[in-house]
Subunit: 302 residues, 2 copies
Amino acid sequence: MNEMDTSRTLRLLFPQWQGGNNPPYVLGAHLLNWLAPKSNGPFEEVPVDLNPNVEKEQGIIAKSTVLQQARSAKSLIHKHNPERIVVLGGDCSVELAPFSYLNEKYDGDVALLWVDAHPDVSIPEDFENHHAHVLANLLGVGDQEFVAEVPHLFKPEQILYVGLNDMIDALHSEPMKNMKLDIVGPDEIKQDSSKVLQWLAEKKPSKIIIHFDLDVLDMKEFRSLLVAYPGTYEEYTKSFPQGSSMETIIRVLQDVAKSYDVVGLGITEHFPWDSYFLANMLSRLPLLGDIDNKERPVFNTL
Amino acid sequence: MNEMDTSRTLRLLFPQWQGGNNPPYVLGAHLLNWLAPKSNGPFEEVPVDLNPNVEKEQGIIAKSTVLQQARSAKSLIHKHNPERIVVLGGDCSVELAPFSYLNEKYDGDVALLWVDAHPDVSIPEDFENHHAHVLANLLGVGDQEFVAEVPHLFKPEQILYVGLNDMIDALHSEPMKNMKLDIVGPDEIKQDSSKVLQWLAEKKPSKIIIHFDLDVLDMKEFRSLLVAYPGTYEEYTKSFPQGSSMETIIRVLQDVAKSYDVVGLGITEHFPWDSYFLANMLSRLPLLGDIDNKERPVFNTL
């Protein structure tokens, strides 16, 4: 499955920050795009509102903006009608339009691997940031305007969590509790990928979509994560469950892609603290920036 | 001193890694350049050998390569004959050519602020990586082929260390011990910049050059430093002396630039662990890279 026509793979840069209500996601997305191997295929950047003033609307921070950005993404995708999509986020909420498109295109004959520390099935009644709602929406749960953006809903049996280890309570909310989504935890992928491959062997999907939230990684190895804010990092490394190593996740995704046709890959929640602070500093240094500028970096911590 | 003609400020990207014998400096330099505010002035990139095989020559790792790259930098600088230079490194050794040029151009009427955790006055007999030799060379000490690249040697009274807190022994080597370089330590800049401004008021230089090694920063706040390798970070935060905060260094440099004409700024030793690991990972993921690629990141730790 390694040879493919990249001319039909759309790369979608989606620097959305409102879904996590944190400005550094914008830089995170652009930096992810800058670090990614170059592609000759089609590329689009979803326009994102940079106005820092956001409000809660019907239980969701910046709901109308996030919804409108999802519609922009959908429109850009339909312009290309791609066979495959790489999404470079941005907060997790960026997956709504591309994954909806792919599930419709392949008529539900798709497995969705949700490689993430968190289940992302919260509802507005419990949590205000849309990045934690997106998988619920793809399953038909949550805010109905977002659900209306999913033309072909995913079924629970299409979903496998990989590496899930935090905030698992959201799976037991009233609208989610009968879904019984399958889970392969961090300990079950440490040695090999067999648990994931067995699940796929049973489901026999024609196509695979991968959601890869970088927060599934061990923050002691990879610190460009919201949770690894330098000011609270030490405390959090003690209290948060340990994530998976990069080599583990790479191996699982390579093993999957060697046997199945991957049509979607979304990488999200890149939160490059150091680069964000460094860019701010450079903009205030002599010969590079404005030496009268006293503006410190803007961000929210957990 | 905030208004200046940027058309005479050369920005020199110098992604040298051999002076620290560590490949991630290459990405560090390019990322620094990517994060820096855009400039309309002249720009040059010094060509750097990417062949990973380096050998020790006359006590210095990759001596002939580092020397040849310094000569390339010199030639690019002379092409523009700039009034001011911003150097984006790369290991600290990148400062040799630009600072030599500036000291010659302004006939030694220059103060050099060496904002760094380390004194960078090691000699080949004591240490094999040239990034720790560069200030010695600028003062006429060390390998004579490097010293020959400095047409107008700096005098010890032109130098002020700012934030120095580690490996101070190098100041007491035989060729350095009579130089008696001035030092303002991290504790002396915490509250205000007066110690640095007082020193400058006594020296009355017409021009200022600033060397800013990012390792002067507190690694608990900024972790894109060699010393903050994730695998040993926890141990090192306990055993290494604490660095300065970004806001402290920004304030000192802004205070200096408000009263003096800064003609050189070199930023060095950017070591972006997360971005380096992330770029490697992306190059091995489905739809983005090569799923048969098992090549892990290449680097040396302390």
